[in-house]
């Protein structure tokens, strides 16, 4: 950097390079954030008048059982995704490290593929999989004689939240997996070799070497997982729209519904801000907790 200062550029030149990006970025990302906070302090319902009502929307939000119900659903999705996706990714990573595994390239290409699909397509694919008469899930259950296990997967309020979580786990499994695999590749081979000399086997290697050494990477993956799952929207919008009733409602869907369904724009903005605060809060809490070393 020290030498680069000998390069000259005019103020106008610099402005020309930076200004368009700063302007468009400010207009689309920063301004809406600020406006959203402003609207959340009003009683706007889409008409020409909006009155400043202070933090009344927020005190409503705190006592809004539907909001907390949506939050609980987000937490169920998050917990299931964390537990199932992480353990599956970790297990697969240890398998990927094994010399006995053939066709690694194929496996990784295939497992990662759903990541690049759009959430809408994934939502529809799974809606068809769950379909009562034509879905492959029920076909498989019928063919192995488990007809009694057949459920209205997306229409039963008791299980719908689990049904909508499976596609999320399936679609994004490739991300933690590939992150773990490349982190493990970064671990020097001689550590494993000396450990093997000491009589270490598969599980112990994973528990006492791989896990501690990629701990920082796991933290990053968990944080990615938290922030994406707190804001999940498209999959659920497509599969159930939050239904039946409100049984698969999540925070982002609720913000959408209050704003566009019933035009409570002031309150909808408060829901959006509340959702931001909660998901940032959870990321921060996790960060604090994760500082304790294993």
């Amino acid at each position: 950097m020290s030498r680069s200062s000998s390069l000259k550029i005019t103020r106008v030149g610099l402005l020309g390079l930076l200004a368009p990006s700063v302007a468009i970025y400010t207009f689309v990302i920063i301004v809406p954030l600020a406006l959203s906070f402003y609207y959340s302090l009003t009683d706007w319902v889409g008409g020409p008048t909006k009155n400043y009502i202070g933090f009344r929307n927020y005190s409503l939000l705190v006592h809004d059982s539907l909001f907390w119900h949506s939050f609980k659903n987000n937490m169920i999705i998050l917990a299931l995704t964390l537990i199932i996706q992480m353990s599956l990714a970790f297990l697969l990573t240890t398998l990927f490290m094994s010399k006995a595994l053939r066709l690694k390239e194929l496996h990784r290409t295939v497992i990662f593929f759903p990541v690049v699909l759009s959430a809408v397509v994934v939502g529809f694919v799974w809606q068809m999989i769950y379909s009562h008469d034509y879905g492959i899930l029920n076909s498989i259950l019928r063919s192995i004689g488990l007809e009694s296990a057949i459920r209205p997967w997306l229409d039963d309020p008791k299980i719908v939240i689990y049904s909508v979580t499976v596609p999320l786990i399936w679609q994004y499994l490739g991300i933690p997996l590939m992150i773990f695999v490349s982190a493990v590749h970064g671990i020097p081979k001689d550590i494993y070799e000396s450990c093997e000399l000491d009589g270490c086997t598969g599980f112990k290697k994973a528990r006492y070497i791989t896990f501690p050494l990629i701990y920082d990477t796991i933290k990053v993956v968990v944080m990615l997982c938290i922030s994406s799952n707190m804001l999940v929207f498209s999959h659920i919008y497509v599969m159930t729209g939050g239904g039946p009733g409100t049984s698969s409602m999540v925070m982002a869907q609720y913000a959408y519904k209050t704003s566009f369904g019933s035009m409570q724009l002031g309150y909808g903005s408060a829901v959006t801000i509340g959702m931001f605060v909660i998901s940032f809060g959870i990321v921060l809490i996790f960060k604090r907790l994760a500082e304790v070393r294993v």
Binding site: L17, L18, A100, L101, F113, P114, L117, I136, M230
Partner: protein, 279 residues
Amino acid sequence: MTVRMLLGKSGKLVFNAMMLAFSVACVFPIAWIVYSSLKTKDEFMLNSVSLPHRLQFHNYYKAFVDGKMYQYFISSALNTVTTVVVVVFLSFCVAYALSRFRFKWRNGIYSYFIVGMLIPVYGLIVPLYLQFKQFGLYDKFYTLFLPYIAIRLPLPIFLLESFIRTVPAELDEAAHMDGASTSYLMTRILLPICKPAIATIVILTFLDTWNEFPFSLVLVSQESLKTLPVGLTNFYGQFTSDYTTLMAAMVLSILPVMAVYLAFYKNIIQGMTAGAVKG
């Protein structure tokens, strides 16, 4: 699963077979959609799991022409191409300025953009909708360009800035001494050097924009401006019981993504995961 078991030949075979079964299970949902889209409606109703007896592409014709998928296709292509081109151009300009010059606001501007990677942008759909309505930007052919470009900017700036830093500044100086203008230096010398980083940016921006749903859902309402993901949800309402046509529509919408993935999966996997390992 012990090492000893894996060492045995049959153990290895079982292990590989299990892994293969897992991978097949992972991709089966997509394969099912693809081959079912080649069946007739009656064939599908009769047995929804079996392979097609005879390949027929009638569903594709129906989806593309009767279902007006071509409209959504054009709109998605227009939005994606514009976004990719503008994002590459803008991020290259910003990255060049940030990596090569020292000025008062340099660190501030850099952080300002990087923060954008932490903001959960889909929480912005409601306020952005209100803002676009007020500024008269709602439902125009250029409406989606703005959010698409803005939300894709931070990552390319981050990638290109660190890439240009690895290119010695002496190169710029030498070019200047030979009388090259800044624009010549940027487009003829630096740009070709940045090709690998730009390739990753083009691919990732393409995928993100092609698949984007929430902004397109709320910011445009004319049929001709809707992108493929929103088009698919409309389509679903219209052809609810016609599974095979729906499947053909879905396959059509993921064909470009599949092609890009198969051609560049190494760059894609690396680009989407590399940042996390360093922490």
